[in-house]
Symmetry: C5
Subunit: 90 residues, 5 copies
């Protein structure tokens, strides 16, 4: 999974019909100090997270293994909100 920070929302009216109700969040990838990396991912929220929260994103077919995302054209899902990291060495 990829570690990221929720920094925004994508608004979309015209989309695949299976995606009605999907909440597309912009997730900035971060390093282990929660500092922004260059890349971001647009992911569907399956756990209910808010702005500036740190999250885990699962990508590829694994992104479709939640109740909401199953069988939908979605390749990234937020499947966990991160409380904290315990790191022995960076």
């Amino acid at each position: 999974m990829t570690l990221g920070k929720v920094i925004g929302t994508v608004w979309s009216t015209r989309k695949d019909e299976a995606l009605v109700g999907a909440k597309f969040l912009i997730v900035q990838q971060v390093n282990l100090k929660y500092e922004a990396k260059d890349n971001f991912i647009v992911a569907v929220d399956s756990v209910g997270v808010g702005l500036n929260e740190i999250v885990l994103v699962a990508q590829g077919s694994s992104a479709r293994q939640t109740t909401f995302t199953r069988n939908k054209p979605i390749d990234a899902v937020i499947m966990a909100k991160v409380d904290k990291l315990d790191i022995s060495k960076v």
Copy 2:
């Protein structure tokens, strides 16, 4: 999903038989200010978008989860047209 801008079309006569009728669009990856990044993706359009529109692209097996793309050798699909982004911090 990946954020991009539609900048062109790929014309192809000889292709896998399952792809007859597919519309291949060239999607330039963009950052959160809609500025072009280095990479581009060729994606099939499943929602009906036009030139210069901002879109979301789903890749991998998730690209086959639309009515048109199912069971076809397609690894990228435009599944949403972006209206706007709400960003708290870039």
Copy 3:
């Protein structure tokens, strides 16, 4: 899909039994001006292309969605020969 140019062939005698008859082509990735990028992909040809032709390559599980590649250990397939690109802006 990835845009590339066919620049050669891989010869292989010892391979997975499902791959007998597979034609492995070397596809140099190119930019929108057909200039070579750094990377290349070895892909199976499913449409019948020749040297120096510009093609589209589908990767991942989508590479197995053709009659020849189904259920085979193949992660890249040439599924279209490109006639031309129409680009509004590069």
Copy 4:
């Protein structure tokens, strides 16, 4: 598979219901001398490894091919602990 070193743990209370009981480890990618590379992966542990151990991580749909991870929104799994590498040349 990717070679990495376990350097920490991710704590998460709010997550997809299928993930209750999952142990999320932070795996720093390493080179063949076990020196840290820039990237890290958050992976679920399926073999029982400890801090600072060297491991193999399988990603994508292959990460769901273990008893614990099957059908879950998990895209990276630790499926082997590495004892040692035999390398002819680096």
Copy 5:
């Protein structure tokens, strides 16, 4: 598929039970002149290759499309030994 050179072996005693008997090889990615690139992949051998041989590696779910790898947490497989490359232009 990715072109690489077999440069070593990974030894692992503790691993997912489905992986007993798997031979994990270290494959250095190479360019078209067989010169080492920066990256390496750990892949399961399905064709019987030896040290220093040039091989093709299939990744992702396609790595599970061989008799030995099916349904196992393996994301990279050596599915062909390369005899030679015919290249028109590099």
